[in-house]
C-alpha cells in the first residue's frame, strides 16, 4: 500500500480498510464506535430498569426479564462500553503522546479489538436466542450454575472472548510504552495519561487471568458437569466470589485510572500550568494499583469470612483514600494560580471533582466493614459505584472525547451542544443517584424487580427515574454533536487547545505514520517546552528517512470470527452433539488463521523518503 492508495476511497474500500486496519488511530475509531454502540445499549437497559422502578409494584417488565436487563446492563456497561471507550482513547492518544509511529504489536492491537467486538456481539446474541444471562454481572454460583437456559453460557463465552482481547490490548500498551518512546521521552517525562495507561495495563495483565480461570470453572460446571461449585460433590461457591473479585476490584481501577490520567492532562492544559506534583501523581497512581490488588474481599464482607479477614480488608481498602486524595488535591493545586479556560472538556472535568469525591467518600463508608453489613447489596452501593463510575469514568470519557476529538476526527465538537449535554447529564446524574443513598438505607436492596407499596420508597425512586431521562437527553445531545461535527463541524487545527504534549505537535488528524521525523523531547510537557523557548514546534530527533509500516491484515477478523463460531459450539453442544462441528470448526478457523499468520512472513512496507517529501509539498 502506498500513500496514494489511502486517499479517496469508495465506501466498500473504507469498510475493507477498517476491517483490516492495524493503524492504532483507526483502531481507536473502531473502539469508539463499538464502545459507543454498547454504551447506548447499556443506557437503554438502564432506562428500562428505571422505568420499571418508577412506581411501586410496577409491571413494565417481568421479573425474569428484569434480572436479564440488570445483568446485561452491568456487563455491557463495564466490559463492552466503558473499557472499550477507554481503550479507544488510549489507542488514539498514547502512541502520539510518546512520539511513536505505532504501537508495538499493530496486528495484536487489531486482534484485541475484534475479539472484544465479537465477544460483545456473542453476549448480546443471547437476547434473541432464548434469553440473556440473569445472574447479575457478578454471576455468583450456584445461581449462575443452576440458571436454566443458555443465558449464563453466553455470559461465559462472551466475556471469555472479549476478555482475551483486553488482555492482548494490555500487553500491547505495556510494550509500546516501554519500547517505543521517542528520543528524550524518559519515563518521568511521560504525560499522566500515558502513565495511567501503563499502570492500567499492568492491572489488566494481572487481573484478567483470574477472571479467565473463574469463567473456565463456570464453563466446566455448566457445560461439562464438573463440580467446582456443586456443593453436593464437595464444591465451594465462595471460590467463584474470590476469583471474580480478585479480578473485579482491580477492574474498577482499570476503569478509573485512565481517566485520572486524562483529567491530569486536561486540567494542566486548560489551566495553562504544568501538573502540580507530577512525581506524586505518578506514585499515587502506582500505589492505587498496588493496593487495588489487596482489597477484593471488601465485596464479600457479609459472606462470613470472619472478623480478622474482614477488618484487614476493610483497613486496606480505606488506605486507598490516601493516594486518591493526593490526586484530588493536586488537581486543585494545578488549577490554583492558573488561567482557567472553561470549555466542554473542562466542564466535564470540573464536574468530575465533586461527583467523584462523593463517590469516593461513600466508597470509604462502605469500606467500614460493620457499617457495610447495612450498606451491602442495597441501593447505597448502587449509588456509590455509579458516583465513581458515571461521575468518574463516564465524565472522563466525555471529557476525553471533547479533548481529543479534534485529533481523532479532525473536527472540533460544538461548544454549545457540549455545554447542553454536560448540564443535562450532570443534573440528571445527581438526581438519579444521590437519592439512592437514602433509598438503600431506608431498606431497598439492589436487584429488586419491584419495591413494595407503603415503604416510603416511592418518591425517591420516582426522582431517580426522572434523573435518568435527563441523562438520556444529555447523551443524545452528545451523539448529535458528534455527528454534526463530522458534517458541519469546524476543521481542527493541529493544536486547538494550546496543548502541552506531543500529540498536539502534529496535524489533526495525524498522517498515518504519525511523525514524519521522531521528535526530540527535552522535558516534561515537550511541546510547551518548545513553545516557551519560542520554537513553537518540536525539533526532530532524526533526519528525514524512510518509514517502516506494518501491512493491513484480515487475519484478526477471521481469528475472532472463528472463536465466535466456536463459542456457539460450546454453548449448544450440551443440547446436541452436532454443535461440536461448530466448536471444532470455529477452533480450526481460529487456529488456521494463526498458522497462516505465523507461516507467512509479514514484513510490512516502507514509505520512501521521496514520498514523504512529496507529501510535505502538497
Amino acid at each position: 500500500m502506498s500513500i496514494a492508495a489511502t486517499q479517496k476511497q469508495g465506501f466498500g474500500a473504507v469498510i475493507w480498510d477498517y476491517l483490516t486496519t492495524v493503524d492504532h488511530k483507526k483502531i481507536a475509531h473502531l473502539y469508539t464506535f463499538g464502545g459507543g454502540f454498547f454504551f447506548i445499549l447499556g443506557g437503554i437497559e438502564a432506562l428500562i430498569i428505571r422505568i420499571q422502578l418508577i412506581k411501586p409494584e410496577n409491571d413494565f417488565v417481568s421479573a425474569g426479564f428484569y434480572n436479564e436487563v440488570i445483568t446485561m446492563h452491568g456487563t455491557t456497561m463495564i466490559f463492552l462500553a466503558a473499557m472499550p471507550l477507554l481503550l479507544g482513547l488510549m489507542n488514539a492518544a498514547v502512541p502520539l503522546q510518546i512520539g511513536a509511529r505505532d504501537v508495538a504489536f499493530p496486528f495484536l492491537n487489531s486482534l484485541g479489538f475484534w475479539l472484544f467486538m465479537f465477544g460483545g456481539i456473542l453476549l448480546n446474541c443471547s437476547w434473541f436466542l432464548g434469553g440473556a444471562p440473569d445472574a447479575g454481572w457478578t454471576s455468583y454460583a450456584p445461581l449462575s450454575t443452576t440458571s436454566p437456559g443458555h443465558g449464563v453460557d453466553f455470559y461465559v463465552m462472551g466475556l471469555q472472548i472479549a476478555g482475551a482481547g483486553t488482555l492482548i490490548g494490555g500487553i500491547n500498551f505495556l510494550v509500546t510504552i516501554i519500547n517505543m518512546r521517542a528520543p528524550g521521552m524518559t519515563y518521568m517525562r511521560m504525560p499522566l495519561f500515558t502513565w495511567a495507561t501503563f499502570v492500567t495495563s499492568i492491572l489488566i495483565l494481572f487481573a484478567f487471568p483470574a477472571l479467565t480461570i473463574g469463567l473456565f470453572l463456570l464453563m466446566f460446571d455448566r457445560m461439562f458437569d464438573s463440580a467446582f461449585f456443586d456443593v453436593t460433590l464437595g464444591g465451594n461457591t465462595i471460590i467463584w466470589q474470590h476469583l471474580f473479585w480478585i479480578f473485579g476490584h482491580p477492574e474498577v481501577y482499570i476503569l478509573i485510572l485512565p481517566v485520572f490520567g486524562l483529567f491530569s492532562d486536561i486540567f494542566s492544559t486548560f489551566s495553562k500550568k504544568r501538573l502540580f506534583g507530577y512525581t506524586a501523581m505518578v506514585f499515587a497512581t502506582m500505589l492505587i494499583a498496588f493496593l487495588g490488588f489487596m482489597v477484593w474481599a471488601h465485596h464479600m464482607f457479609t459472606v462470613g469470612l470472619g472478623p480478622v479477614a474482614n477488618t484487614i480488608f476493610s483497613i486496606a481498602t480505606m488506605a486507598i483514600a490516601v493516594p486518591t486524595g493526593i490526586k484530588i488535591f493536586n488537581w486543585l493545586a494545578t488549577m490554583w494560580g492558573g488561567s482557567i479556560t472553561i470549555n466542554s472538556a473542562m466542564l466535564w472535568s470540573l464536574g468530575f471533582i465533586p461527583s467523584f469525591t462523593v463517590g469516593g467518600m461513600t466508597g470509604v463508608m462502605v469500606a467500614t466493614v460493620a457499617a457495610d453489613y447495612q450498606y451491602h447489596d442495597t441501593y447505597f452501593v448502587i449509588a456509590h459505584f455509579h458516583y465513581v463510575i458515571v461521575g468518574g469514568t463516564v465524565f472522563g470519557i466525555f471529557a476525553g472525547f471533547h479533548y481529543w476529538w479534534p485529533k481523532m476526527f479532525g473536527r472540533i465538537l460544538n461548544e454549545t451542544m457540549g455545554k447542553i449535554a454536560f448540564w443535562t447529564f450532570f443534573i440528571g446524574f445527581h438526581l438519579t443517584f444521590f437519592i439512592q443513598h437514602f433509598l438503600g438505607l431506608m431498606g431497598m436492596p439492589r436487584r429488586y424487580w419491584v419495591f413494595l407499596e407503603d415503604q416510603n420508597l416511592d418518591l425517591g425512586n420516582f426522582i431517580s427515574t426522572i434523573g435518568a431521562f435527563f441523562m438520556a437527553i444529555g447523551v443524545i445531545v452528545f451523539f448529535i454533536n458528534a455527528i454534526y461535527s463530522q458534517v458541519k463541524g469546524e476543521k481542527a487545527p493541529a493544536d486547538p487547545w494550546d496543548g502541552r504534549t506531543l500529540e498536539w505537535s502534529i496535524p489533526s488528524p495525524p498522517p498515518y505514520y504519525n511523525f514524519k521525523q521522531l521528535p526530540l523531547t527535552r522535558g516534561l510537557d515537550p511541546l510547551w517546552v518548545e513553545k516557551t523557548e519560542g520554537n513553537g514546534k518540536m525539533t526532530p530527533a532524526e533526519p528525514l528517512g524512510e518509514i517502516h509500516m506494518p501491512n493491513n491484515s484480515f487475519i484478526p477478523f477471521v481469528m475472532s470470527l472463528g472463536l465466535f463460531i466456536a463459542g456457539f459450539g460450546f454453548i449448544y453442544q450440551t443440547d446436541n452433539n452436532a454443535w461440536f462441528i461448530a466448536l471444532f470448526g470455529g477452533m480450526a478457523i481460529a487456529l488456521g488463521a494463526m498458522i497462516v499468520r505465523s507461516v507467512k512472513d509479514d514484513l510490512g512496507y516502507h514509505i520512501s523518503k521521496e514520498e514523504l517529501e512529496r507529501e510535505a509539498d502538497e
Binding site: A207, I238, H242, I246, F293, M294, W296
Partner: protein, 106 residues
C-alpha cells in the same frame, strides 16, 4: 528491521557463550539434585508433614529461581522489566492463592 546491534560475533563472544552454557549445565545439575531431594523426602517419609511441606515449597522455589535466573537469563541485564512483571505476577499470585486456599475457610 534495522540491525541496531552492530557487534559481530567473535571468538570472544563464542567463548562467553560457552562459559554461560557451563553455568547453565551446573544449574541443571543442581535442579536435578533438588528434585531428587524433594522426591526422596516424600518417598521415604523421613519428615513430618508439618515440616515436609515448607521444605518442599522451598525446594520448588530454589528450582524455579534457577529456571528464571539462569535458563531464562533473568540475571542478565536488559531484564529489569521482565523481573518487575514476574515479581508483580508472583505477588498477585501469592495473594490469589492465599485468598483461595486460606480464607475460603471460615
Amino acid at each position: 528491521m534495522e540491525n541496531t546491534n552492530t557487534n559481530k560475533i567473535t571468538e570472544y563472544q563464542k567463548q562467553r557463550n560457552k562459559e554461560e552454557m557451563k553455568k547453565q549445565l551446573i544449574s541443571f545439575a543442581l535442579m536435578i539434585v533438588v528434585t531428587l531431594i524433594a522426591f526422596t523426602i516424600v518417598a521415604t517419609g523421613v519428615m513430618e508433614k508439618m515440616f515436609a511441606i515448607p521444605v518442599l515449597l522451598i525446594l520448588a522455589l530454589i528450582q524455579v529461581a534457577f529456571q528464571y535466573y539462569y535458563f531464562m537469563h533473568m540475571k542478565d541485564k536488559g531484564h529489569e522489566m521482565p523481573s518487575i512483571m514476574i515479581y508483580g505476577g508472583a505477588w498477585a499470585a501469592i495473594l490469589t492463592i492465599a485468598g483461595l486456599a486460606v480464607i475460603t475457610w471460615w
